[in-house]
């Protein structure tokens, strides 16, 4: 755990995360056991700086179009990370959506987190839209306040969204506010567009330095895309995929292999930019599919990106 804390504080962290979603709630128990065993083995072999565990949300409030894949709820990310994967000796960074929680429920979670034997890491996620906060629910700002009061040892990360920056131009200010609220690092959505990610890094690092603050590490997420349907889901989720890259994937003989090659090229561009400007970064390879080839592609991408970071 302290190795991750040291790395988060380093001027050149070059973090390497690997991200998973828990199995679906509907998965039969013996199948869950098998998935957990396989994932443990794979993650142990990759030995990332941390395992990121997502809290998948429906996100249908985001927009009227039908979701390209049906949403199926997963096992609770905390249960998955700290119990099912509990004996995997790696820091787990657990996503937690605060939008659906009520205040007592969130305070209970804080209390539980505070009494864990070792420091815990979490990325709190707000509602995908303003309408997504239930009445009596917890906003992201509320949640940061409750963590400071009830779980001060919890190491917080936050999400940073280049797409929102391209639209509104103020994501770097949200990042400064999140840093002010106690967050220690950022994780992006899956990156397919180098330019908007470079713009976010540039605006954020400039603004932090203008305030005399050191920019926090920004961990860039990359994810293979194995099919036109996955591509449709990415776009539905609001991830910016440039037209040219979309065309490359649609025209590719091997979509998955092409997506890994393109992700490596986009990563090379953004990482070189960040290193040249001494902006602390890292990579997170997201493997949310359960298809064998997609998992292998994510493994290959992780290994390639770690090598690129010289680690």
């Amino acid at each position: 755990m302290s190795a991750l804390l040291d790395r988060l504080a380093s001027p050149r962290p070059d973090l390497c995360f690997y991200g998973l979603a828990p199995p679906k709630q509907s998965t039969p128990p013996e199948r869950v056991q098998a998935i957990v065993a396989a994932q443990k083995e794979r993650v142990r072999a990759l030995s990332p700086d941390a395992l990121v565990v997502y809290d998948l949300q429906d996100e249908s409030s985001r927009q009227p179009d039908p979701r390209p894949f049906p949403f199926l709820p997963t096992l609770p990310p905390d249960l998955y990370a700290h119990h099912l994967m509990g004996d995997l000796a790696l820091p787990k960074i657990v996503y937690r959506s605060v939008a659906g929680a009520d205040r007592p429920g969130f305070e209970g979670w804080c209390a539980e987190t505070a009494t864990a034997g070792e420091p815990r890491f979490s990325v709190l996620v707000g509602a995908p839209t303003a309408r997504g906060v239930s009445s009596g629910g917890v906003t992201l700002d509320d949640a940061y306040g409750l963590v400071r009061r009830h779980a001060p040892s919890l190491v917080l990360g936050a999400i940073a969204i280049a797409e929102r920056h391209a639209r509104r131009g103020d994501e770097h200010e949200r990042m400064l506010a999140k840093a002010g609220a106690g967050c220690r690092f950022f994780v992006t959505q899956a990156v397919y567009d180098a330019s908007s990610s470079k713009s976010l890094l540039s605006d954020y690092a400039r603004a932090a330095r203008a305030r005399g603050e050191r920019p926090l590490p920004v961990v860039l997420t990359f994810s293979p895309c194995g099919s036109p349907r996955t591509l449709a889901l990415l776009k539905w989720l609001g991830i910016a995929v440039p037209r040219w890259l979309e065309n490359e994937l649609l025209d590719a003989r091997d979509t998955l292999e092409t997506s890994v090659r393109l992700a490596e090229a986009v990563a090379a561009d953004v990482l070189a930019f960040a290193h040249e400007r001494e902006i602390p970064v890292g990579v997170n390879v997201e493997s949310v599919s359960i298809r064998k080839e997609e998992i292998e592609a994510a493994t290959a991408l992780f290994t390639g990106l770690r090598a690129r970071l010289g680690r």
Copy 2:
């Protein structure tokens, strides 16, 4: 002239153009002579495939914000290209804005063009906004029709705007329509964003090939940017400058030198993309400033890009 025609028809044209604006109308005649002499010498030394001569427009109808530099009308591009620079033995590609012209005026220009001793090259430009066409004026479609009727030997190019494609997603269809109307090549606005240019090239080449047509050469314009004020003008003109690149220019110790380095990197990205996909392209280096350092930067950029094209 026929060398340029051959190159336009080649599957890998890798065109190298150099672009200038005529001197301002208010320039004293003896100063015009000096400028013409200096430009002739410079262009002769560079020996581009063609000299592009712009038809600068006010473009204030484009938007309500004040123009960062005042608009000063120039000498007529035709006069400049075919008379003042007449003895420069290079094809001249003369821009002509059709928005302000009336029909007899445009027909007269077609007739004059048709009786020139050698084939002439022109890029017709429509109104910057729909409101910009005067009543009784000529639209771009009218103009293409009049050229076919009155000046069929005129070699037409057209502008292609990646920014419009990013906004509306249909610029590739306009390009197909322009090709159908007789245009033989495209020239872009100044490119500072690789991704949107790659998207336009990709969508255009795919759509042309889907119709069984060979994509026409797309000549990508690059231009040094020597100051924050020039940067403001580019943005005012509707040219997309990614935030990160804007920050680089604003923070640079030497804005001009940095802009040349960044233009070379953007060009390298887009040209490699086009070559890999066998999309015919070229470069056009725009030198519209009269400052000595900016002219030298444009010369350096031209030489660098030509070398990159292996020419």
